[in-house]
Amino acid sequence: MKIGIMISDISNSLFRRPITELYPFERRETPESLRGMLHWNSENCTGCGLCAKDCPANAIDLIVLDKKAKRFVLSYHPDRCTFCAQCVHSCRQGCLEMSNEEWELASLDKDQFHVLYGVKEDVENILAGSPLPDVDRIE
């Protein structure tokens, strides 16, 4: 039976800097494995759409413009994403990866939360809302 066992802790703290980090001013390096923003590299994509099917948050749509010519556009919603990396795992071609640097994704602008990956021309067409022939959308 003792009183004030934590005196060693508080006397140590008296002359020490607080452990709290002032986040936006003090930053830690993020670990290699951190799961941040999703990135898509279209090179090997076969358009199987498993990434979109397995996404638990419906954050990914794969827009198939022309399966034979391998013209795909990946529509990604970072605001819906739960950063579980199931899509990265489901993709057998290794087209998807998560950045460990882009993780501060908060924004006041709603447009920031809809990212389209793909050939520039296709993306622009989709953004312009022009009708596309035979578009298959895997959600």
Binding site: G4, M6, D9, P31, E32, S33, R35, P56
Partner: protein
């Protein structure tokens, strides 16, 4: 007359659904005579999220992440229970390395959960210094989980048929270093909770549950083990890598709040031992096996030891890529009856302490339960009938 007088002297203190002592919604009606509790009634269900229904509309892989979000603190163990069940249904054998990594993460999660609990309980007792320090040290294990998995809370370590990531030497060393620090601190905290006279005044002899009571009330996990009931799924019915890395059960005899503190803190040492052992003897091999997208028809039951106690999953498949039914029972619901029984005769000031003693997690335990059986027992309700029932219920309440 006499009875009426007694009735008038009692006083009902409502705790919740919104109350500073409760971080989650639930409602307790505590009847007090002065400061002494004479009766307690609990009402749950304020955080019902319909998860069991929601999983029926998603495929097996998506459900992994849905079920992981039942609990923010023990997310990994929910996913593990689900994976074990589905793998059993599909008849798939998970490679030993993946199983070891699952157990390693589960033990890291147990450390983080128990640290969190000690902090919360210290805060309820009015010992904020212990709360602040223990949560400071909890950051160590949170950082380890982040380095390992990439997320701090919902780690998403599991996939059906294995795990997502491997552990390299660098990470193993980081974990060993973190554990050394935590072990030193844990020794100190064990000293505090078992020897600090002022703290013991709030925990020693409070909420005593005898071994018999603990068995009758059906308590699970550390709450039961603090009353000397040897109930630990890791030991009783090992699963996954617990066959190769057997856990030792930690028991205390007194059954009061101090014993619950001591059991949880001593379990941390057991977790440290297991993690070190796994890191030193991690089996080599693959991290996953291929899983079919459609799971064979059948049903299974799966039990695992969550930080709060036994977690139970019932999984039924109809042969498609979506489950037919998943039923979950979380440890809190098993322990809740003990709270209502134990608070009687204690002071009002001890109620939050006794409640927090079971480490309650309310949103985890809120499931659909049909209580109204006046118009005949119905096994299944249609959406329309359920809606109508809700409307009628509120009309009745407010008329």
């Amino acid at each position: 007359m006499m009875e009426k007088k007694i009735m008038d002297e009692t006083f009902t203190v409502p705790i919740g659904p919104q109350h500073p002592a409760l971080k989650e919604p639930s409602h307790f009606r505590i009847t007090v005579d002065g400061e002494i509790v004479t009766n307690a009634v609990v009402r749950l269900g304020y955080a019902h999220r319909g998860i069991e229904k929601a999983v029926e509309g998603r495929n097996w892989i998506q459900n992994l992440y849905m079920l992981e979000r039942i609990c923010g603190i023990c997310s990994h163990i929910h996913a593990t229970a689900y994976c074990l069940g589905v793998e059993q249904l599909a008849g798939v054998e998970v490679p030993p390395r993946a199983q070891a990594i699952r157990v390693l993460t589960a033990e890291l999660e147990r450390i983080h959960s128990h640290f969190l609990w000690v902090g919360v309980a210290a805060h309820e007792a009015g010992f904020d210094t212990l709360f602040m320090y223990i949560w400071r040290d909890r950051e160590t294990v949170m950082d380890l989980l982040e380095t390992l998995s990439g997320n701090r809370v919902n780690y998403s370590v599991n996939i059906l048929g294995g795990v997502k990531f491997d552990i390299n030497e660098e990470q193993a060393d980081a974990i060993r270093k973190g554990l050394d620090y935590l072990e030193e601190r844990t020794n100190h905290y064990l000293d505090v909770v078992s020897n600090d006279a002022m703290f013991l005044q709030r925990t020693s002899g409070i909420g005593v549950m005898t071994r018999n009571q603990a068995e009758v009330l059906g308590t699970v996990g550390p709450t039961a083990r603090a009353s000397n009931v040897a109930r630990d799924v890791r030991v009783e019915a090992p699963y996954g890598a617990y066959f190769d890395y057997p856990a030792n059960i930690v028991l205390e005899e007194r059954g009061d709040l101090t014993a619950r503190f001591v059991v949880r803190i001593k379990e941390l040492f057991e977790s440290y031992r297991l993690i070190r052992l796994i890191l030193d003897t991690l089996p080599s091999g693959d991290l996953e096996t291929r899983m079919p997208r459609r799971i064979k028809e059948g049903e299974t039951v799966c039990r695992v030891e969550a930080p709060r106690g036994e977690l139970f999953y019932f999984i039924k498949s109809n042969g498609t890529d979506m489950p037919e039914r998943i039923k979950i029972r979380t440890p809190t619901i098993c322990n809740m009856t003990s709270v209502v029984k134990l608070v009687i005769g204690h002071q009002l000031a001890d109620v939050p302490m006794i409640l927090v003693g079971i480490d309650p997690c309310f949103s985890c335990n809120d499931r659909m339960v049909i209580l109204d059986r006046s118009d005949g027992y119905k096994q299944q309700w249609t959406w329309e009938a359920l809606r109508q029932h809700g409307i009628d219920y509120y009309h009745e309440q407010h008329s």
